[in-house]
Amino acid sequence: MKKLLILPLLVLSGCAVHVEPVTAKFPEAPATLLQKCEALKEVAKDASLSDFTKVVVENYILYHECSRKVEGWHEWYTKQKAIFEEATK
C-alpha cells in the first residue's frame, strides 16, 4: 500500500501539456527608410564656376537627405526596441 503513494507523482506529468506558441512579429520598416541614398552628382568637364557650385550644393543636399534617413533608422530601431521590450517583459 505504501508503494502506491508513489503513484500520485504521476499527477505531475499533467503539466506536460502542449503550449501554444506565441511569437512576436518583426516590425516592418517604413518604405521611406528602405529607399537607398541617391548617388552623388558629377560635374561636367566644361562646367563653369556656377555650374560647379550648383553640383556641390546639390551633393550637400543629397548628403543631408541621406543623413536624415540614417537618423530615421536610429530612431526607428530605438523606438521599436523599446516597444518590443515592453511587450515581452
Binding site: 499527477v11 499533467g14 503550449v19 501554444e20 560635374v43 556656377s50 534617413k69 516597444i83
Partner: protein
C-alpha cells in the same frame, strides 16, 4: 506526449465526476472491509477507486494548467497586439518627420541654388575652373571603392 486532444473532446464534468467517484470508492472500500459479504470485494474496489482517483487528479491538474496557460497566452497576445499597433503608429510618426525634414532640406537647397544663379554666376567669366578641380570633385563624388586611391591624373 500531448494530452490536450483528450481535454478537447471530453467535457470537464467527466473529470470532476471521476474524482468524486474515485474518492467515494476509496471510502466505500474502507467500509467494505467491515461488512462480511462485501469484504471479499474490498481489494478490487480499492484498486479501481485508486486508479480512478489518480487518473482524475491527473486530468484535473492538466485542466488547471491548460486554463492558466490559456490565460497567459491571451494576455501575451493582447500585449503583442498593442505593441504591433504602437509599432505602426511609431512608423507613421517617423515617416512624417522624415518627409517634413526632407521637404525643408530641399527648400533650403533650392534657395541656395537660386543664390548661386544670382550671385556666383557673375564670376563665371573671371574664374576658369582647372580640370583637376573638376576631376578631384568627381573622384570624391563617385569614390569607386573597388579601385585604389588615385594618384596623379585620373583615368
Amino acid at each position: 506526449m500531448s494530452i490536450f486532444w483528450i481535454l478537447t473532446f471530453v467535457p470537464t464534468f467527466v473529470f470532476n465526476l471521476a474524482l468524486i467517484v474515485g474518492v467515494v470508492g476509496l471510502l466505500v472500500s474502507v467500509v467494505a472491509g467491515r461488512v462480511p459479504f462485501i469484504s471479499q470485494y474490498k481489494l478490487p474496489i480499492q484498486l479501481l477507486a485508486l486508479a480512478l482517483t489518480i487518473v482524475a487528479v491527473f486530468f484535473q491538474g492538466a485542466l488547471a494548467y491548460k486554463h492558466s496557460v490559456a490565460l497567459e497566452v491571451a494576455e501575451l497576445k493582447l500585449k503583442l497586439q498593442k505593441a504591433e499597433t504602437k509599432s505602426v503608429e511609431t512608423n507613421v510618426e517617423i515617416v512624417e518627420k522624415i518627409v517634413t525634414d526632407t521637404q525643408v532640406i530641399r527648400e533650403k537647397g533650392k534657395t541656395i541654388t537660386e543664390y548661386v544663379d544670382r550671385e556666383i554666376v557673375k564670376y563665371d567669366n573671371f574664374c576658369e575652373l582647372p580640370t583637376e578641380v573638376i576631376n578631384a570633385h568627381n573622384m570624391a563624388a563617385t569614390l569607386n571603392l573597388n579601385e585604389g586611391t588615385p594618384e596623379g591624373e585620373p583615368k
